[in-house]
C-alpha cells in the first residue's frame, strides 16, 4: 500500500508546473460562454435547461478530448526521456505504476467536472436564477454519472498511450472517434458501447419525449455498460503494461 502511494506521489512530481491543467479551466469558461449566450429563461426548470445547454459542448467534446489528452500526457515524458525503464527498474510493481497514472488522469477529469459544475452554478446566478431552486439530486446524478462515464475512455486512452510511443498518435485516434459523437448518439444499439459518447449519453438525457436514440436508455443500464467497459479496458491496459518490454 505504501508503495502505491509512493508511486502516486512520484507521478505528482512529474506533472511539474506544466500548463496541462489549464485545459480544465478552458472547458468551463467556454461552456459558461455558451450558457450566458443561451436563451434559457428564469422560471420552471431553468437550472436543468441551463445544464443541458452547457453540457452539450462539455460532454460531447471536452470530456472525451480531455480523457485523451490527460492520458497521453501522463505517458509523454516516459516515452520521450526513456523513463519507462527507469520506473520499472525501481522496487514498485508495474500495476502500481499504471494505476497511479490512471488515477492522475481520473483525478484531472474529476477536477474538470467539478469546475464545470461550478460554471453552471455561476452562469445560473449571473442570469438571476434562484439558488434554492437548484435540483441538487439531479445535478449530482448527472455530474457523478458523467464523470464515471469518462472512465472507460480514460482507461482505453491510457492503454493506447502507454503502448504507442508517439504523443500525437493517441490524440489523433481520440479526435477521430470523438468527432462522430453526435451521429453515434442516435443509435440506441451502438451508442452505449462507444466510449467516446458515453459521457454525453449519461449527462444529456433530457427526459420524456425530448430523448432520442441512445438517450432513451435507462441510466442504470448505461452505468452497467460503463462499469463493464471500464473493467475490460483497465484490465487490458494492466495486462499489457505488466508485460511491456522496455
Amino acid at each position: 500500500m505504501t508503495t502505491w502511494i509512493a508511486a502516486l506521489r512520484s507521478e505528482r512530481i512529474k506533472l511539474g508546473r506544466s500548463q496541462i491543467m489549464l485545459l480544465t479551466i478552458i472547458d468551463p469558461v467556454l461552456c459558461a460562454g455558451v450558457g450566458l449566450l443561451s436563451t434559457v429563461d428564469n422560471g420552471e426548470g431553468a437550472w436543468f435547461g441551463l445544464l443541458l445547454v452547457m453540457t452539450l459542448l462539455h460532454a460531447m467534446f471536452f470530456l472525451p478530448m480531455m480523457a485523451g489528452i490527460f492520458s497521453a500526457f501522463v505517458c509523454r515524458y516516459e516515452h520521450a526521456g526513456g523513463g519507462w525503464k527507469q520506473m520499472m527498474s525501481l522496487p514498485v510493481s508495474r500495476s502500481a505504476l499504471y494505476l497511479s497514472k490512471l488515477l492522475v488522469v481520473t483525478g484531472a477529469l474529476a477536477l474538470s467536472q467539478l469546475l464545470f459544475f461550478a460554471a453552471v452554478l455561476g452562469v445560473g446566478l449571473l442570469k438571476g436564477f434562484d439558488l434554492s431552486q437548484v435540483p441538487w439530486n439531479l445535478f449530482a446524478v448527472r455530474m457523478l454519472g458523467g464523470f464515471a462515464a469518462c472512465l472507460p475512455l480514460a482507461a482505453l486512452q491510457l492503454f493506447v498511450s502507454a503502448m504507442w510511443s508517439s504523443f500525437a498518435a493517441p490524440l489523433v485516434l481520440n479526435m477521430i472517434f470523438t468527432v462522430p459523437n453526435i451521429l453515434v448518439a442516435n443509435s440506441a444499439d451502438f451508442a452505449p458501447y462507444y466510449p467516446w459518447v458515453q459521457p454525453m449519453l449519461v449527462m444529456m438525457q433530457a427526459g420524456g419525449e425530448y430523448d432520442f436514440g441512445g438517450f432513451t436508455l435507462p441510466l442504470l443500464n448505461l452505468m452497467i455498460t460503463v462499469g463493464g467497459s471500464f473493467a475490460v479496458f483497465a484490465a487490458a491496459g494492466l495486462a499489457y503494461f505488466g508485460r511491456k518490454p522496455v
Binding site: 505504501t2 509512493a6 506521489r9 512530481i13 512529474k14 511539474g16 515524458y77 525503464k85 525501481l90 518490454p245
Partner: protein, 328 residues
C-alpha cells in the same frame, strides 16, 4: 565459498528467431567490478535488461543475491541501482526533481539527493532543467539516480558513453572506489576492453550472444602472452644461430620474434649472437595488446603482424603498463 551476487543459467533471448543472448552463464561474486564486454550488438544490453526484469527471457534463470528474479523481483530491485543504455530523464524537471521521482519510491532520506549529486559533480547544475543538459551531464544524472537507493549491486550499461576524457576518468575512479568504500558489487558493460581493463577485477566477454571468456583480468592478461623481439644487423643468418640453440623464431621485418621463450634462453641466445658478430640494436618484450586478443576472440580480425605494428604506433605505453602489472 564466495557469494554470488549475479548468477544466470542458460539465459536466452530470441528476437525474430536469432538469439540475441544465447545460453549465457554469468557468475559475479560479491565485491567484484565485473567488466561485461562485447562488440556492438553482442547482447550486453539485452542481458542487462533481463537482469532487471525489463524484458522476459525466453529461457534460463536469473538469480540475484541468490534469489530468483521471477519470484523476488521487487525485493531484489530495492538493492540494485541501474543505468541502462541511455540515461532516462524528465526534461521538464531539474536534477533534484528528477531524483525526487525515484526517491519517493525508494523511500530514502532527502539528503541522499544532495549526496549523489555531489558524487557525480552535478551540484552546480542541480536546479537547471535537464532538457538543457549535455549528454555527459545526463549520463551523470543517470549514474546519480543509480546510486540514489544506496544499492549493494550497481548495474551500469556503458556508463562513460558520451563523457569527455576527464568525465570518463572521474566515473572510472568513482566505480573503482565502490567495492572498497561501500562494498558495492559492480557490473559495468563496455565495448572497450582498454576501458574495462582499467577498472574491472574480472571480465566476461560476449560475442553474438554467447559468453566466450569469463575470468579475472590477470588471467586474461596471461592468456594474451608475450613475445621477444630482437632487432639486429643480419636477421637471416641469426635465424640459423638461433635454431642451433633450439629456438625457432619467425622473421618479421628484419627482426627475430620469439614466442614462449624464457630468460635463460634469451641470455644464451644473445651471447651466441654477439659471439657471431651480430650487431644487436634492441631486445624488447612485446605483450600482445588485450585489445587485439579481444578482437581475435570476437572475430573482429587482426593478425599478429597487425598487432606488432599497432604496438609500435600506439600500444607501446600500454605494453609497458602491462609489464609492470605482470611483474607485481
Amino acid at each position: 565459498m564466495t557469494e554470488m551476487m549475479i548468477e544466470t543459467r542458460n539465459l536466452t533471448k530470441k528476437y525474430r528467431g536469432t538469439r540475441a543472448v544465447d545460453a549465457l552463464n554469468l557468475a559475479i561474486p560479491r565485491g567484484e567490478i565485473y567488466g561485461f564486454l562485447g562488440p556492438n550488438g553482442a547482447g550486453k544490453t539485452t542481458t542487462i535488461r533481463m537482469l532487471l526484469g525489463l524484458i522476459k527471457p525466453d529461457s534460463g534463470v536469473v538469480q540475484i543475491f541468490g534469489q530468483d528474479l521471477r519470484k523476488d523481483r521487487l525485493r531484489i530491485l530495492r538493492r540494485v541501482g541501474s543505468l541502462v543504455e541511455y540515461p532516462s530523464y524528465y526534461g521538464h524537471l531539474n536534477a533534484i526533481e528528477n531524483l525526487e521521482t525515484s526517491r519517493r519510491i525508494l523511500n530514502v532520506p532527502k539528503s541522499r539527493i544532495d549526496e549523489v549529486l555531489h558524487t557525480v559533480g552535478l551540484t552546480k547544475d542541480a536546479k537547471r532543467h535537464v532538457k538543457g543538459y549535455s549528454l555527459g551531464m545526463k549520463q551523470r544524472l543517470g549514474i546519480a539516480s543509480a546510486l540514489l537507493g544506496s544499492p549493494e549491486l550497481l548495474i551500469l550499461d556503458e556508463p562513460t558513453n558520451g563523457l569527455d576524457p576527464s568525465g570518463i576518468l572521474e566515473i572510472r575512479e568513482l566505480i573503482k572506489r565502490m567495492p572498497q568504500e561501500q562494498g558495492i558489487t559492480v557490473l559495468v558493460s563496455s565495448h572497450l576492453l582498454s576501458e574495462v581493463e582499467q577498472m574491472a577485477s574480472s571480465v566476461g566477454i560476449v560475442n553474438q550472444g554467447r559468453m566466450i571468456f569469463q575470468d579475472t583480468i590477470p588471467n586474461l592478461q596471461r592468456k594474451a602472452g608475450s613475445e621477444i623481439h630482437i632487432a639486429l644487423s643480419d636477421a637471416e643468418t641469426a635465424m640459423i644461430t638461433a635454431r642451433e640453440l633450439g629456438c625457432f623464431p619467425r622473421l618479421d621485418q628484419g627482426k627475430l620474434v620469439f614466442k614462449g621463450i624464457d630468460n635463460d634462453q634469451i641470455a644464451r641466445l644473445v651471447t651466441a649472437l654477439v659471439d657471431a658478430r651480430h650487431s644487436i640494436y634492441r631486445v624488447e618484450e612485446r605483450r600482445k595488446s588485450l585489445e587485439d586478443l579481444f578482437l581475435t576472440m570476437t572475430g573482429g580480425g587482426s593478425s599478429d603482424a597487425a598487432s606488432a605494428d599497432d604496438t609500435i604506433a600506439s600500444g607501446a605505453p600500454r605494453a609497458a603498463g602491462l609489464r609492470r602489472e605482470a611483474a607485481q
